[in-house]
Symmetry: C2
């Protein structure tokens, strides 16, 4: 009864069966056994899917998320690494906040075109500066957020 087959997992998590199979295929989740052909999942998988969803929303790739779990399936990373990741997130949060504020300012700016708005120019300059000359392929820290939008906006 505590064992769910894929349809139930999909129903409760909102993650479609195809995706669940895919996740299992890449080792992100796993089923306990088969009942006939059917995968039987432990209820725990729902929690794990929440965690995965969270990670995705935060801009991590599935590979990165997978790296946050040990082979036993439980979150298992050296504490220092976890904290480092958290620090990294903190930096991203700051960046996003700046961007958010800038967008709002531009949205409310009375200048007729954005190019004439001084703060828009300033914003352009700062964003240009902040990610200029990045031929050092600087990695997850800067790309995680930009990489993929977690939810398609209505625009």
């Amino acid at each position: 009864m505590k064992f769910l087959d894929i349809g139930k997992v999909a129903e409760h998590s909102g993650v479609p069966p195809s995706t669940l199979r895919y996740y299992e295929e890449i080792g992100l989740i796993r089923s306990l056994w088969r009942h006939g052909l059917r995968r039987q999942f432990d209820g725990d998988v729902l929690l794990k899917l929440s965690l995965i969803s969270l990670g995705k929303a935060a801009g991590f790739s599935l590979t990165e998320i997978a790296g946050m779990f040990g082979r036993d399936g439980r979150p298992d990373i050296p504490r220092a690494q976890l904290h480092a990741r958290a620090d990294e997130l903190e930096r991203q949060i700051l960046d996003l906040r700046m961007l958010r504020d800038a967008l709002r300012h531009v949205a409310d700016c009375p200048a007729s075109t954005h190019l004439e708005c001084p703060s828009f120019r300033k914003l352009l300059k700062s964003t240009t500066r902040s990610r200029a000359v990045d031929h050092s392929r600087s990695h997850a820290a800067t790309t995680a957020v930009t990489r993929k939008r977690s939810v398609r906006g209505p625009l």
Copy 2:
């Protein structure tokens, strides 16, 4: 007058030539004319690339960004759209914060039973709630714009 060929644009903007050609192909930027085979760009393009970079950082797709320029090629961003994006950023910030907290919790929690730890569950639950139902898979409507090679963007 400064007319740049693609190498110079790449050098000043940090955007590789292949990408610049791609952007031109999809109508996101444009060159003024050819000198022999070579594209000649107006210096303006650098500003535009900053704008594009900004848009990307804010999570807009290239198609969306292209839609932000009027027929004259000048930025014309609907303010409501900017606010909407700022709202989305705000949500993303919340997600990041929760992930950060989750990571810190995992780092500091002495038990190896994170998935059963009440406060961890609570964290997860709150994140799950925040971005609950996502069956907004309206894909056909949004893709109607740019198909294959028929790209003739709004420039």
